[in-house]
């Protein structure tokens, strides 16, 4: 189909605008990468830039040679992400399957129980006091996994709708006539047929855990060996703030802080290493994330 002249003009304009926006989105990441590859002395003199005068992999070799803390934080993030996501998907599916059954007694009330949490919340202070005062999770590994991330009401509703609309009722009836237990139906019908939506909420949850720094900020104050990579990055920012506000008189506190703060190049390298898995898995994440976003729009 030959394009009409005015259509060609529109195509060009649309492409130019979108190409510019794409560059606008990508350039900051290029700056991050280039800064991490710049020689430290160049960095200190010329600042962060797109075209390093002198390339250097020093920052990365520092991470792997002497960055025990960094590698440990990275391993922690992987652990929190894997465990958190598995538990999240499991309890979400277990909760959503009953809600998808049309004749579940009290179905309306249960749906409201889930939905209401999306409308009203207690906020940070009551949550903080409960988790620290009643459950004593401060400075424990639970702090990085349990608060706010373990299940989301939005995901429950997504999965419920998918189960209710995409798995034929006839399958359940046949299984029940065969005398299959609910747990068996869940294992051998619901899970296999619901795989697409479970992978989708798995990517949601996995990214939420990978990117989480709030739980560490609120609940990890002393046991910094429980930090994930995002917490470590965040800690370096607050250390630098602390140093600039104490720049005049170098107290011993400030000296200690200075000693544990990596150089500017290393900081950017850690940030880049933290986004690397997202970069590598991007095609996969994009496929399921986009699907989930458009499903979420159709409530």
């Amino acid at each position: 189909m030959a394009l009409k002249k005015k259509d060609r003009g529109y195509q060009i304009a649309a492409n130019v605008i979108m190409a510019l926006w794409t560059i606008f989105i990508i350039l900051p990441f290029v700056l991050l990468l280039m800064s991490s590859l710049t020689d430290e002395t160049v960095l200190l003199n010329k600042g962060y830039g797109f075209f390093p005068e002198k390339f250097s992999f020093e920052a990365y070799s520092y991470i792997f040679k002497s960055g025990d803390k960094i590698l440990s934080a990275y391993a922690h993030t992987i652990f929190y992400t894997v465990v958190g996501t598995l538990v999240n998907v499991l309890i979400t599916a277990l909760f959503a399957y009953p809600l998808s059954l049309k004749n579940l007694p009290g179905r309306k009330a249960w749906n409201f129980y889930v939905f209401f949490t999306m409308l009203f919340s207690g906020g940070l202070i009551p949550s903080y006091m409960m988790w620290t005062g009643t459950f004593h999770i401060k400075d424990t590994i639970w702090a990085q996994i349990i608060p706010s991330l373990l299940m989301s009401a939005m995901n429950v509703l997504l999965v419920r709708t998918y189960f209710a609309t995409s798995i034929p009722d006839a399958l359940f009836e046949a299984a029940q006539i065969d005398g299959a237990s609910q747990m068996r139906i869940f294992r051998s019908i619901v899970i296999p047929l619901g795989k697409p939506i479970l992978v989708t909420i798995g990517t949601f949850s996995g990214l939420a855990y990978w990117n989480d720094w709030n739980n560490g900020l609120y609940y990890i104050t002393q046991a910094t060996d429980l930090y994930g990579i995002q917490n470590l990055l965040n800690r370096m920012v607050s250390d630098l703030q602390f140093l600039t506000s104490n720049a005049s008189g170098m107290s011993s506190d400030a000296m200690q802080t200075l000693a544990r703060t990596p150089t500017t190049g290393v900081q950017m390298a850690i940030a880049f290493v933290a986004i690397l898995p997202i970069l590598i898995l991007f095609p996969f994440l994009q496929k399921y994330y986009s699907k989930g976003i458009s499903l979420g729009a159709v409530k």
Partner: protein, 315 residues
Amino acid sequence: MTNAAAPAKKGSSLSAKVKKWTPVYLMMIPGALYLLINNYIPMFGLVIAFKQVDFQKGILASPWIGFQNFQFLFQTKDAFVITRNTLLYNIAFIFLNTFIGILFAIFICDISRKTGKKVYQSAILFPYLMSWVIVGYIIYAIFSMQYGIVNKSILPALGMDPLMWYNDPKYWPAILIITNTWKGSGYGCLIYISSINGIEASYFEAAELDGANKFQQIWNITMPEILPSVITLTLLSIGRIFYSDFGLFYQVPRDSGLLYSTTNTIDTYVYRGLMKLGNVGMASAAGFYQSVVGFILVLLSNWVVRKISPDNALF
């Protein structure tokens, strides 16, 4: 006969019912318990705003003090500043994200080159997947006063003096709004793309035959067809207008105290009150104020939508 049989039958069906549904309810226990603890208990915990916060005693045993926390909070200038900042930023975000989301969705759907389409669609989602900590580092690489590319390369090239970005609040409304659009506009855009893809192709073909130009097609077909998505998304955002993205306002300005006049929002205020400044009473009052006013706004905006177009109401 019926009198005797009815209760018996009811009894047996009840026990059959219990037998049938017990395993199903058991499956719901972990999730239901989690919502109870993570979401419902803190809702009741909001009463802490009317108490003298005592971490040793916990929420229940802290002594009541009535409206004192609120009195203190609303006597400060902070109450006004954090409310103003939260609302104005959110209004700017709603307008920009809606406008850019729709515009780019229309472009991406219309662009005929497959590769272009794919690249643009990937690009708009990409920063959405990054944590605010990372975004904070990127913004720092750009605006850092000592090492940032703006102060070290761009401004000198233009013959201008370096600017004190992290010391002067006046730059931050623009930086925060652009950063938020850069990171977040892809989300709405993807929703609009899927709703544009759902429009019957025959509408456009018919319009084409009638000689409607591109702009007329967008205005008369695309816009009315995606209106429900626009209303739903806007409604959700208005419902959350009293909430701010903590990461954006905490990580991007690097928690710099000099910038609070334009970067402090209700969420950052509550956090700092709780963890740093020690006026947790006022922070808990601000948290209560946020939860309750936010809830009223959700109900109100949903009520308005139910009046004008019931199909688009959330509940």
